[in-house]
Amino acid sequence: MKVIVLQENLARGLSIVSRAVSPRSTLPVLSNILIASDEGRLRLSATNLELGITCWIPARIEQEGSTTVPSRTLSDLINTLPADQVQLILDTQTQSLHVQGGTSNNDIKCIDAQEFPPLPVPDMDGAVQVNVADFKEMIQQVTFAASTDEARPVLMGVLVTVEKDQITMAAADGFRLAVRKATLSNAMPSPISAIIPARALNELARVAGDGEESIYMVMPKGRGQVLFRVKDVEVVSQLIDGTFPDYHQIIPRNYKSRTLVSTNAMLKACKQAEIFAREGSNVARLDIKPAQSDMQPSEVEISATSEETGRNETIVEATVDGGGMLIAFNVKFLREALEAVKTPNVAMETSGPNAPGVIRPVGNDDYIQVIMPMHLG
């Protein structure tokens, strides 16, 4: 193999794929990055068998070939080379990669590309196509609600379902649920349902970049994998095996009290309450007060108390529809829920101190969150 690439392209490509490298694996080849000539471009791939990232960078291929290079060594080296052309020459006999940039000459010991686990070569026909910005927003609005508890692997993933022209993402950790819907530009012939690890989606959002491109999503038949392609990057993830709980049953159908607040004001109040609540068990009390008469305003009082730190109380103006209510939430969950809401106003629906609360952005029916209440104490 003989390839000439620009240092900045190679450095960018390595920084994208290196997130999937697993440095401490029983398979030594997994701490390496696969570099291979691929139809006039250079392909970089890394995988930890759960998440795989491939990136194509422009290159001048003088001789075809492939090998796997230790990730840390190559990344550290390329980052120190001058912003100029870098020449990569592989000696296939010794599996040693000669890297030349500026006046620096290096030989890196590599592992044969044959040992690298094969990444799927997808058929992009029938791919689900979503705008990058929309897809990133969906991911950001859902993944934070996924569990980090290894004991229930299913909840560490995000349930992605596609039916006709509706795509839905749902994540839950047993205490909260976030569901985000979106409409696709063209309807899919057959429905899709899969549990994708939240980590893979977060990595996808990170590498997808900004812009007007589309993300293409396919699930090759019988491989238990999902593949996303954006521009010149591909992210492959193993699917989580199992049955996602039926979350439709958790979403309350009606409410006794509906409170409209400004998202920002409520978020600020939650942040303040969290300063005090985090010392204890993260409990914040919401006292929802409807207007006493036509002349008085309705409001929500958010308060948190801690034995050691002290206490906090913030009043947020609100429009309360229905009766008053005293309810407690985990303030960290409440803050994260509000941070994910993009509209200026948010509606909170409650039915009682022991019933789950629902958070909806005002003027957008595509996003819904459910949070379990805590003991008032």
Binding site: T26, L27, V29, L49, E50, E115, P117, P118, E150, P153, V154, M156, P197, R223, G224, Q225, Q238, L239, I240, D241, G242
Partner: protein, 326 residues
């Protein structure tokens, strides 16, 4: 074809039928003394499960990419879990890491295989952490455990596995395996006897000549120690206890020697293991009473057990040597 294995034909036969009929259990436990081929059998089962090009149902080709990766224990869908060294502890974090990988669908094959070696070394936390996975393994997961005896595991683990108790082979089988390899008959006979019907151990003896030397040294020490003074025994015990692995090994050699003495003393017709020391063993057996020999054997077994329980090795060695019959 017997999966290229020496012996254990019944086990291979059973497993082959399971694989061929698609009724592989979610968990198997292979038990038997070390060096018997427990791991080899488990690896071959993994190959049979995941071979992409099986020559016949329940067989594996050994040539395809998956077969070669599994044989090298480098397969993306196979996780190998074991304590860091023999006699070490298999920890709960290792079990958790495997559970995470088992929750994902297989990367390239039909099954994800988790291979837990010497599972008797798992501490209670690790064993308990595995229970849930053992009970409700995902459909694509197969768990393979190896252990010295099923009884050394938690009863809750055993009841969740299909147990295959592997037994030592006949000495002649191991002998013919060795002669087939080109070992000269005299040496093959000796190694087969010393291995006690464990082909894996026989191979180790063959490849690592220092093992035989250590054995000879330890057995000569044993004979010398029987006649030596208390002072000598104490200084030997001190030296021995410096290296825990060496001490464990020495006790194992001595145990097999005393087992032979026991066999001779009880006039059993079973062939002895240490055939190269048969004269010494005979004379010792004729000199000692059966209860005395039996006590020594159980003392040695107890000593091995106590070593795993972190007893002060020097005290242990001293007591052991002092209690030996004159």
């Amino acid at each position: 074809m017997n999966w290229n294995l020496i012996g254990h034909a019944w086990a291979v036969d059973l497993l082959r039928r399971h694989v061929a009929n698609g009724e592989a259990r979610h968990a198997y436990l292979f038990s038997g003394p070390p060096g018997l081929g427990r791991r080899t059998l488990a690896v071959h089962l993994a190959q049979a499960l995941n071979c992409t090009n099986p020559p016949a149902p329940g067989e594996f080709c050994g040539q395809c990419r998956d077969c070669r990766q599994i044989a090298a224990m480098q397969h993306p869908d196979m996780a190998v879990v074991q304590a860091e060294n023999e006699g070490g502890t298999l920890k709960v974090d290792q079990v958790r890491a495997v559970q995470h990988s088992l929750s994902l669908k297989p990367y390239q094959s039909k099954y994800r295989v988790a291979l837990f070696l010497r599972f008797q070394e798992a501490n209670d936390n690790a064993a308990n952490a595995l229970l849930k996975t053992l009970e409700e393994a995902p459909a694509h997961a197969i768990l393979l455990l190896t252990a010295d005896t099923p009884e050394s595991l938690l009863p809750t683990i055993i009841s969740r596995c299909e147990i295959l108790r592997l037994r030592p082979l006949r000495v002649e089988e191991v002998e013919s395996m060795l002669t087939d390899k080109g070992v000269d008959p005299e040496r093959a006979r000796l190694l087969a006897h010393i291995s006690g019907g464990r082909p894996g151990y026989a191979n180790r003896l063959l490849e690592d000549s220092s093992l035989l030397e250590t054995r000879a040294e330890r057995l000569n020490d044993l004979q010398a120690l029987l006649q030596s003074t208390r002072v000598k025994k104490f200084s030997y015990a001190d030296k021995l206890s410096k290296d825990k692995d060496g001490m464990r090994q020495a006790i194992t050699f001595w145990l097999s020697y005393w087992r032979d003495v026991l066999l001779k003393a009880s006039h059993a017709s079973v062939t002895i293991t240490n055939v190269d020391y048969s004269a010494e063993i005979e004379s010792l057996a004729s000199r000692l009473t059966l209860p005395a020999v039996r006590r020594t054997v159980s003392d040695l077994e107890l000593a091995l057990d106590r070593m795993d329980r972190n007893v002060n090795p020097r005290l242990l060695a001293e007591v052991l040597l002092m209690d030996w019959p004159k």
